[in-house]
């Protein structure tokens, strides 16, 4: 069993989670050492070690899962039997999700080293990033609703503080409070849905819930449960009527945090939604409502994105639209559709992560987020701009990028399950979204209006991170077999 044993085998935690939690909790000590002993980059080194250890531990877990016969590893917390104590259930989907989290987390951490070096309170920053990653990994591996809720709140709390991290300006504070209020309300809805589940089945364990509730007759309580689950997870996943926090919070956070929020935090909301819906309800119960939400989410987000002048705000709206595409896969109710959803989660984490990181470099150097005043900046930062183009083309679903592959699978699965109108809506939206991606590209490429604009290329490490991600997008677009194989196992 790949798990860390504490206190003579009474408390066990999966190894990736243990690495992140331990790293996050020891970060204040490391930070103190770095400040007192003037050890320079000790914090960054520790951040690198912890995120790399997380990636390694997930690889170990994957190897063990492959060797395991029934494909589920159960790690008991507190030494209790699962119905009573909390537990972790690690299956292929959890490993896939936590792999995406670890990968993007690693790259965003590398990127932060240069991006954040002028900021103060770096110790808190790195500790919160690690705890946020730990929260998401915990959600991906949770085996009961109670464990999920605890890690959900860990993720939420650290992301509130990270959004409002640059507290000397008014924007982050205002966005952070809005995010906190909406997300905390959603947390209360989640707790209410937990209590209804508990009242219906007498347990919060996922396996027992599935036994007790799947195929049960539809009572009014099921609709109450369904709506509380949708609200509880939907705010974090930014499904459209509940999305209003996202376009404020994502642009105002520091760029590596925007990348993490947009790349994986909202997908973690989607992961929770998918897992709970498929555990508790028959697919026929929720298909039409999720499909309607998908169309609403895509259309509204794409139209609003077209009106934006702020590059990061535009990308935030594009994230909402991508959530709409992922919901298509959830609404099909087939394994193929869910595979498409999680493939798109991974691809989107790469593409949107890259888009936020490289536009972050541009914003960092040019010191403005206004698209018209970024005219011509692309000519002065060729590498960064090139990676941004790759990311935007991928988000638009151009062939030879990985975004094309997963969108193709998603739309295909919608047709396969008899919802042709859903696929048509998706394709139209996807074409429509190119309009605003091309607008960003045009602005960056255009001849500068004033001669005085002078922008240098971003620091080497930041460029290196973005180039690696751009290369991965193209490589996985041309040769998607390995990731598709992983996603297929996962669903």
């Amino acid at each position: 069993m790949v798990a860390l044993d504490l206190l003579t085998q009474t408390v066990r935690i999966p190894l990736p989670l243990a690495a992140l939690l331990l790293g996050g909790l020891t970060m204040p000590i490391i930070g103190l050492l770095a400040e007192r002993a003037a050890l320079g980059r000790l914090r960054e080194a520790w951040m690198f070690v912890v995120t790399a250890a997380d990636l390694g531990a997930i690889y170990l877990l994957y190897q063990q899962l492959k060797a395991d016969a029934d494909g589920i590893l159960v790690v008991h917390l507190w030494g209790q039997r699962p119905p009573l104590g909390g537990c972790f259930e690690v299956d292929a989907l959890s490993v896939f999700m936590s792999g995406s989290i670890a990968f993007l987390g690693f790259l965003a951490a590398l990127y932060s080293f240069n991006y954040m070096e002028k900021e103060s309170r770096l110790t808190e920053y790195y500790a919160l990033v690690l705890l946020m990653m730990a929260g998401m990994t915990g959600i991906a591996m949770a085996g009961d609703f109670f464990t999920l809720f605890i890690f959900w709140e860990l993720m939420s709390l650290s992301s509130y503080v990270l959004v409002a991290f640059l507290k000397s300006r008014w924007g982050p504070i205002e966005a952070g409070f809005k995010y906190l209020l909406m997300s905390a309300t959603a947390g209360a809805f989640l707790l209410l849905s937990m209590s209804f589940l508990y009242g219906m089945a007498g347990t919060l364990n996922f396996a027992l819930l599935a036994n007790g509730l799947r195929g049960a007759e539809v009572t009014p309580w099921m609709f109450v449960l369904f709506s509380t689950v949708i609200v509880g997870f939907g705010v974090k996943a930014a499904i459209v009527p509940l999305h209003t926090w996202l376009p404020d919070a994502h642009p105002e956070a520091p760029s590596p945090i925007s990348a993490l929020l947009s790349g994986i935090v909202i997908e973690t909301g989607l992961y929770g939604l998918t897992r709970v819906l498929y555990l508790i309800f028959e697919p026929g119960f929720f298909r039409m409502s999720i499909a309607a939400l998908a169309v609403l989410t895509m259309t509204l987000a794409n139209v609003t994105a077209l009106l934006q002048q702020d590059i990061k705000r535009l990308l935030a709206y594009s994230s909402i639209a991508q959530i709409g595409y992922m919901l298509i896969g959830v609404s099909t109710g087939t394994a193929y559709g869910v595979m498409g959803t999680f493939l798109h989660v991974f691809n989107h984490s790469l593409m949107k992560g890259l888009a936020f990181l490289s536009s972050g470099s541009i914003v960092h150097r040019a010191d403005t987020r206004d698209i018209p005043s970024l005219r011509g900046v692309g000519r002065m930062m060729p590498y960064t701009t090139f990676t941004l183009f790759v990311a935007l083309l991928g988000l638009g679903g151009v062939p030879a990028t990985n975004g094309f592959i997963s969108k193709f699978i998603l739309f295909n699965s919608a047709i396969g399950s008899g919802m042709v109108w859903l696929a048509v809506a998706g394709v139209l939206n996807s074409a429509f979204s190119m309009a605003y991606y091309l607008r960003v590209m045009k602005a960056l490429f255009a001849r500068p209006e004033s001669e005085g604009l002078e922008v240098r290329e971003a620091p080497t490490l930041m460029v290196a991170v973005t180039v690696v991600m751009a290369a991965l997008i193209v490589v996985l677009g041309l040769y998607p077999a390995p990731v598709i194989g992983l996603a297929e196992r996962a669903s």
Partner: protein, 103 residues
Amino acid sequence: MELLMPFLISVALLFIIGLMCLMVKRDMVRLLIGVEILFNAANLNFVALSTQVSGFVDPFAHSVVMMAIVLDGCVIAVGLAMALNVYKHYKTLDIRKLRRLRW
């Protein structure tokens, strides 16, 4: 079931009160109190249902509620810290003055 009904009704009432508080109040601290009311409604529901499911009062629900109380305490603490920062920037806690970010 008859015993459970008053609890379910009061949970529904608390939830409505909390949501109303979030919708009509404009003081930031009051909004946080609204969130707290929502959490407490959910907690009450947990404890009320724990008497019904297994024929005895299930201690599991109580342990969940203990953790939930701690967690929402943390959320409120972060929220109050943010309200403090808002006060430093805007010199007011009126949520309607926070209008510089628009869609």
